[in-house]
């Protein structure tokens, strides 16, 4: 039980200016399930891609079963007995299960023999691990849970002794996830070693033996699961960030400005991502939505903003209904007083190739202030951008520079200035300070509170719990697409952490 299956020593990896893995050392014991937890962008997937030979580390060593291995491509990883189930399945959609399993392990140039062997082997794996799947089914016709099973079978077919699963439950429904956990338990019982990557605390507690926590490219601790708690892991994940608490007085809520009733949203695969959510935001208050990333907050925001189509429910803006059938035009919502700071700054909030002044009118480019008939009023646009650059201290102070040349914090200020200065009734903000330097965070937080004090309704989504607690007057917690609890702005971190992990909900369900 105490043998080491995998040992990583001093792994470093940089992508340009991003230091994705900083000097990471890690031991995984044989025959255990080892969890790796961390927020999005903590470097978990990069580390596993290095172990699987998909990327090469800049420095560091990999030991498999105590021997040093050079793993520079997936072939070498497979040869070392490592298999990986990727977050986005690496399956060919229009191939059969059998074809997918054989790909890269066909035995011979002509398929006949290989097919026979694969069929027999698949039968055996099915028997040994209770992993049933029709070998002749076409992947795209299988539900996601079964597709994932094919990925696991693929690894086992190649003789994997060590199985890496990257965020395996992200695409699964709760019953499918439970089934996966049973399968992983069986694999462990058969002596396989499993590395399980997730950002969900509950899963770590449920199935792992040991857990390592990553934060901002560093490995900040390894614990025996039995000896740790959700609270400890949560604080390791988030860390104690130096957050200057912004001064804010009591809220003065007025009329309901934004009202969401029983909103349900499905993603392109038909999985329900927002499940029957209702909420109200009043003038003069900030409502924060807390939750671990991937629990439906992003889709909720995008649906309210008219970017996604809802499959059920209603949204009211200033008391009037909004068409959520996909015809709700974001431009129309803007005219009706809704401003939106999107989560995805680079692909949605800005055009990196545009001049700053051009990015600063995105979405408002049809407003008369910026136009002379059909022409852009370039003078007005640049003057306006320069005024905002001054007011928001955006650097470099040059409206004609390409947006890509600004730092993350300054880009975010460009978006924020654009949306706030339109004087909207309702402001919805996703991840206001993601990838933003500390100096800009305080500035952005102040602006959001000023909006509230000016009597605007603010709906805030953030995966940073500290941020939610610092800004919100009321906090809603989302888990698995649902709002699982509501607290006031003074709620404790532990209390919220339990809600975010879905634990509170389980307790309520059990009662």
């Amino acid at each position: 039980m105490n043998e080491t299956a995998i040992e990583l020593i001093g792994i470093n990896k940089r992508f340009g200016l991003v230091h994705a893995n900083k000097d990471i050392s890690l031991k995984v014991r044989k025959g255990t399930i080892h969890g790796i937890i961390g927020e999005n962008g903590a470097g978990k997937s990069t580390l596993m891609s290095i172990l699987y030979g998909f990327y090469e580390a800049d420095s560091g060593e990999i030991l498999v079963d105590g021997t040093k291995r050079k793993i520079t491509n997936p072939n070498e990883a497979i040869a070392a007995g490592i298999g990986m189930v990727h977050q986005h399945f690496m399956l060919v959609d229009n191939f059969t299960v059998l074809e997918n399993i054989m790909l890269g392990a066909e035995d011979s140039a002509i398929l006949n023999k290989g097919i026979a062997r694969a069929r027999a082997e698949l039968k055996r794996l099915e028997r040994d691990y209770a992993l049933e799947v029709d070998p002749d089914a076409v992947i795209e016709e299988l539900p996601v849970g079964l597709q994932q099973r094919v990925e696991i079978l693929k690894a086992l077919y190649r003789g994997a002794e060590i199985l890496i699963l990257d965020e395996p439950t992200g695409v699964l429904t709760p019953p499918e996830a439970d089934h996966l956990f049973r399968i992983l338990g069986q694999l462990k019982d058969q002596g396989k070693t499993i590395i399980f990557i997730t950002h969900k605390l509950r899963e770590i507690m449920a199935i792992t033996d040991e857990v390592s926590v990553m934060r901002q490219g560093e490995l900040v601790g390894t614990r025996q699961t039995a000896d740790t708690s959700v609270e400890e892991l949560a604080s390791l994940m988030v860390g104690r960030r130096v957050l200057l608490r912004v001064e804010k007085g009591p809220a003065n809520p007025g009329d309901v400005k934004l009202s969401v009733r029983n909103l349900t949203v499905k993603d392109s695969r038909g999985v329900t991502v927002v499940d029957n959510v209702s909420l109200d935001v009043r003038a003069g208050e900030i409502v924060g939505i807390a939750g671990v990333a991937g629990n439906g907050q992003s889709q909720l925001l995008e649906t309210i903003a008219g970017i996604r189509t809802a499959s059920g429910g209603e949204v009211y803006l200033n008391g009037k209904p909004v068409d959520i059938s996909g015809k709700a035009d974001p431009a129309e919502l803007r005219r009706r007083g809704l401003a939106h700071v999107p989560e995805d700054r680079h692909h949605m909030g800005l055009i990196l190739e545009f001049e700053e002044a051009e990015s600063a009118i995105l979405g408002y480019h049809d407003q008369p202030d910026y136009l002379n008939g059909v022409f852009l009023n370039v003078d007005a646009i640049r003057k306006d951008a320069e005024a905002k650059i001054k007011a928001y201290d955006i650097r470099p102070a040059n409206a004609r520079l390409k947006t890509a040349n600004f730092s993350g914090g300054n880009q975010q200020k460009v978006v924020l200035a654009r949306e706030i200065e339109q004087d909207p009734d309702v402001l919805i903000i996703g991840q206001p300070t993601r990838g933003v330097d500390v100096g800009a965070i305080e500035f952005i937080h102040k602006r959001i509170i000023e909006m509230r004090d000016a009597g605007k309704a603010v709906l805030l989504v953030s995966v940073e719990l500290d941020e939610i607690r610092a800004l919100s007057d009321r906090i809603l917690v989302m888990f698995a697409g649902r709002v699982v609890g509501e607290r006031d702005g003074e709620a404790g971190e532990d209390d919220l952490g339990l809600l975010m992990a879905g634990i509170e909900e389980d307790r309520e369900a059990a009662e």
Partner: protein, 377 residues
Amino acid sequence: MATPYAKLPGWVEYVLIPLINLIVAFAVAGLVVLLVGQSPIRAATLLVDGAFGYGEGIGYTLYYATTFIFTGLAVAVAFHCKLFNIGGEGQAYIGGIGVALACLTFDTILPWYLTFIVATIGAALFGAAWAFIPAYLRAKRGSHIVITTIMFNFIASSVMIYLLVEVMKPAGTMSPQTRTFGEGGQLPQLDWLMAIFGLDIGGAPFNVSFLLALAAAVFVWVLIWRTKLGYEIRTMGFSEKAARYAGIKDSRIIIIAMLISGALAGMMALNPIMGEQGRMQLDFVAGAGFVGIAVALMGRSHPAGIIPAAILFGMLYQGGAEISFEMPEISRDMIVIIQGLVILFAGALENTFRPAISRFFGARAAKTPPVSVGSAG
């Protein structure tokens, strides 16, 4: 495409790299000249002399350039919307119907400048109409616009053969062409313009449609960078997600961008039909639609780049004719090779020399890739 390249100074990005790509293309073309046992240097000298050495040569160079400005702008407008309109050839061909109809109707009753206006509108309408179906199918049904526009080139060719042989050919004549237009259907030379510079263009068909081409270039610049529509086209071209966020209707923008592209391609027909032949003949487009691709790639989809690129190709066409006269081994097909090489080196291999150039300028890696045009619609 997602490979991050180092950020380079503007003049390197927009002048040096295109220039290097161009020089490589010409160097390879020089090898072909060597292969047929001729002197590339003599060929180059003849080329430049033939194109710019005397008034009539310049006249012809600018006559060809006029055509390529139109087709280059057509490709560029679509590129800005991330659409690859490879159908300029067919749109220009069909645009000819508009020109011919206007001239056949009004050439004896209106002065040329009035016919010209009607013909311009006709050319634009017919060209745009030919772009409409591929555009509509792309916007509403997701059909691959590269393939549909290629198919429409061939369909246009069949349509025009049919029209010229069966419908528009005057009774009792043999060759598939319309009758020759009267004075009201022919554009005057721009000899006075060249005379200002002390040049005599002789018989060169350099005509007023050149001024229209320049106006079109200004129009495209204003459209793309100075109108709301252009803003929306560029937003669509850079990020469909951002366009959705900004409330821009994607199918509407795709269709409008393609209509403008088709109209510009169609206007190309004015130059050969009204400006040179005085009638519509079979195959008057002669590959100009495809040259437009090379011109747009070289000119980086900016009118300020397209005009010099069009003049360069005008020089190739005129100077190439001169070379083939002096060096019969090098026929005008040499231009086609150079055109292909320019498309290859300025288009498909545009990033080949970039890493070396970046190293030379010691630029640090930046996060954003350079603007890359036309990743197929």
